[in-house]
């Protein structure tokens, strides 16, 4: 239990630091940034309390908003993704959604990919909608969402494959 708490705290701090110092300054092609801090929401155990996740997600977004000088888009997007995560995992893993290690083994690679993609895409769509907040710029929102999602997804997929020890 203590080990689990320490692990979560470590992830929380490390991901915020990495996001603020590195990933938000990439500006690929001038404007595309990945948001791999979502790894926190991905790695949070599927069988742990969702209430705790909601609060953790809220504070994760809040800290990022404060440090990245954004208005509140990270908070709203992360919070919403945390809320929708059970629905997304049920959709992608089906019966295996109860399995706490669904992201490491015991599930199909395609289901894992769908889980990640849905999570990332939902988050980015909300993030860019809130940031731009203008219905007339819907095409800009969608293109930004698409490119950033692909970027984030590749980083998340690589990270997961690197640290995934096959058992």
């Amino acid at each position: 239990m203590i080990q689990e708490t320490l692990k979560i705290t470590g992830q929380f701090i490390l991901l915020i630091v990495l996001q603020v110092l590195i990933f938000s300054n990439i500006n690929f092609l001038g404007y595309i940034n990945p948001y791999p801090y979502l790894l926190f929401v991905v790695l949070y155990r599927l069988d742990s309390s969702q209430t705790v996740l909601l609060f953790l997600g809220f504070f994760l977004g809040l800290f990022l908003d404060l440090m990245l000088q954004t208005a509140g888009a990270h908070t709203i997007a992360t919070l919403t993704v945390c809320f929708l995560r059970p629905a997304i995992s049920n959709f992608s893993f089906g019966v295996n959604a109860e399995n706490s290690h669904a992201l490491e083994y015991g599930t199909k690679r395609s289901s894992r990919m769908i889980f990640l993609a849905l999570l990332v895409f939902t988050h980015h769509l909300i993030y860019f909608s809130i940031t731009i907040f203008n219905w007339n710029a819907i095409r800009y929102i969608l293109s930004n969402t698409l490119y950033s999602s692909l970027f984030t997804l590749s980083i998340l997929w690589l990270t997961l494959s690197l640290f995934n020890v096959r058992r």
Binding site: Q50, F55, A71, G72, T75, I76, L79, F83, F133
Partner: protein, 266 residues
């Protein structure tokens, strides 16, 4: 009771989510001026249609009163016409060229807050833009702030942040007029130098030194004044001619030469 508590526990995650989302939106609203104006616009759009519905019904029952007020205004205008039968030259102050008048109805009006606003039933589709002046039959009313397609919100003269350039009609001494709060029928005119004379009952009119209003539009009359301790300026209490607690028909003033003016005074 037990069932209600059970229902709350069953949906606690959704409730927590909504609560935190509310916090996040308040945070967003407070941190970003852009989001604040966008959210205000959205609110205006929703509330505008609602108030319009309510106002349409209420309006029907006050038709008689409104007719009377319009007749009274007509009478005043006729009086002016007979007083100046051939007054069509362009120097006439109230007919300054370059201002277009548009009629609108007030559908929401407040006068009990520190920053009062109005909503009128004309918007961007009727060529209403931000920063246009609003006058009523008795004098100035406010300045347009935000517009949507069919509605516009305006800062009332009873808004703590509004300053209007105004002058004494008798000797053209000008100062700045604002609302100190509290009473809807007391405004303060400051920065009038003591080298001018002031008397109770003097008329206060617009000074014409802003883009919003032409000069000599009536505002109110002096009810009391005192000399500030520095002995340099007056502080004049003004009672507005407009009754801000009963606004119905107003006119929006469009300054057709505003851009030209702003080029000189960026």
């Amino acid at each position: 009771m037990q069932q209600i508590i059970n229902a709350i526990f069953r949906n606690k995650n959704a409730l927590i989510y909504l609560l935190l989302l509310l916090f996040a939106f308040v945070f967003l609203n407070n941190r970003s001026y852009y989001h604040q104006t966008r959210l205000e616009k959205l609110g205006l759009k929703l509330a505008g249609s609602l108030w319009n519905l309510q106002d349409n019904t209420a309006n029907y029952f006050s038709l008689q009163q409104q007719n009377k007020a319009l007749l009274e205004e007509n009478r005043k205008l006729r009086e002016l016409l007979t007083a100046h039968p051939n007054d069509t030259d362009s120097i006439s102050p109230t007919l300054l060229p370059g201002f277009t008048y548009r009629h609108a109805r007030v559908i929401k009006n407040s006068f009990d807050q520190a920053r009062n606003t109005l909503v009128i039933d004309k918007g961007a589709r009727d060529s209403i833009r931000g920063e246009m002046g609003i006058v009523g039959p008795d004098g100035i009313v406010g300045i347009v702030n935000e517009t949507t397609a069919h509605y516009a919100s305006a800062l009332s003269l009873l808004h703590a942040d509004v300053r209007i350039n105004a002058k004494l009609k008798t000797n053209d001494a000008f100062g700045s007029l604002y609302w100190p709060g509290v009473e809807a029928n007391r405004l303060l005119l400051t920065n009038i130098s003591t080298i001018n004379t002031v008397a109770v009952g003097d008329s206060i009119v617009t000074g014409g030194m802003s883009d919003y209003f032409p000069k000599d539009i009536p505002i109110g009359k002096v009810v009391a004044f005192k000399i500030l301790p520095s002995k340099r300026y007056y502080e004049i209490e003004v009672m507005p001619f407009t009754n801000f607690t009963a606004l119905e028909h107003v006119y929006i003033l469009q300054n057709n030469r505003r851009e030209e003016l702003q080029q000189l005074n960026p």
